[in-house]
Symmetry: C2
Subunit: 205 residues, 2 copies
């Protein structure tokens, strides 16, 4: 198999867009989620994130990386103001609309309205979910960590509610994401669908 | 579509394995990588990680989450000792062997040897790559952050070399991971293959 190789010196002199594509795609597939939030004065915000990461199961925590240089940090401001946010899986019927949330809009406009997705409120949970998503998580802001290397921020949240389609959930509560039609993100702008090969049976030496 | 829902109270009383499966699968697809490292006395280590996350493109940084309660932290000890590690994409022909690195082995044994993957050394780079992987990244340890919520650690590294199959790299240096046969991880034990739907053309309002 013929290979393409880049050294540190090669990477450093790459044209900006090429470097963005190469570096964003080289770490493998990423989760495809829409984070929903609302400001204290009631303006909804929705933004696509590919950096959501599992932090722990008991208690249940997730994290995501906030970039300093991209869209204004309305999501983060809202999360700090209200203390809550939602995580909604991107599926094949909403990925184009979801991706459009990565463009820059004025703070007083709701991305739900602009891109054409429907805010859904559940019980007394303050942050909006995405009605069209099939897997939805309610989160409570926990804390954040400044990444000194480049000014990004790791935001952490406790998972306080989960919703998934019945037909995607196995008996042991594993959510088969291909049955939930959840997509995965490749680099900055690639969306891929998936097919489960197998679940590897647990073994202990 | 019929839904299954879990509240915080439901999550807290779940049987341990069910909670592990539910919480590990609810955040969406994860990257599938093998981290290669070597101790200062020359013992190789290889471990599967699903938490590698993009941190920045210029300079190029990635991070990964280290769990406190899983396998002994040989990878982390090696990375601190030598300052370097490799990130190797899991593909369909090696995912079973790769997954076996998540079992617990004595520190003096090389997981490469135990699971049957081949260490590959490039130039003067100290850490071993996985010969059978098609996308391979060389990293220099940068720093780490203690996550106070649960004792996990975010380890950060600078990307100092990248290698990918020529046929998977687009003209703008986007690596199409489905053409590289890179897999993605669902939960703790699910492996999925992918098919690119599309790359969304860049637009600016």
């Amino acid at each position: 198999m013929q290979k393409k190789k880049w050294s540190l010196a090669d990477i450093e002199v790459l044209e900006k867009k090429k470097r963005l594509h190469l570096i964003n795609s080289c770490t493998g597939y990423k989760s495809a989620n829409l984070i929903g939030s609302i400001s204290s004065d009631g303006v909804e915000n929705l933004a696509v994130f590919s950096s959501i990461v599992h932090l722990g199961s008991d208690p249940a925590f997730l994290g995501f990386i906030l970039r300093p240089t991209t869209v204004p940090r309305h999501s983060f401001a809202n999360i700090l103001e209200t203390g809550y946010f939602t995580v909604n899986h991107v599926n094949e019927s909403i990925y184009k609309k979801g991706h459009d949330t990565s463009l820059s809009y004025p703070k007083e406009q709701s991305e739900f309205e602009i891109v054409g997705l429907t805010p859904e409120y559940q019980n007394d949970f303050i942050a909006p979910f995405v009605k069209e998503a099939s897997v939805k998580i309610g989160c409570k802001y926990s804390s954040h960590y400044d990444i000194k290397e480049n000014g990004t921020i790791l935001v952490t949240g406790q998972i306080i509610s989960i919703e998934a389609p019945v037909e995607a959930v196995d008996h042991d509560l594993f959510i088969d994401l291909s049955r939930a039609n959840t997509l995965t993100i490749n680099g900055l702008d690639g969306y891929a669908k998936t097919q489960t090969i197998e679940r590897i049976p647990y073994k202990k030496l």
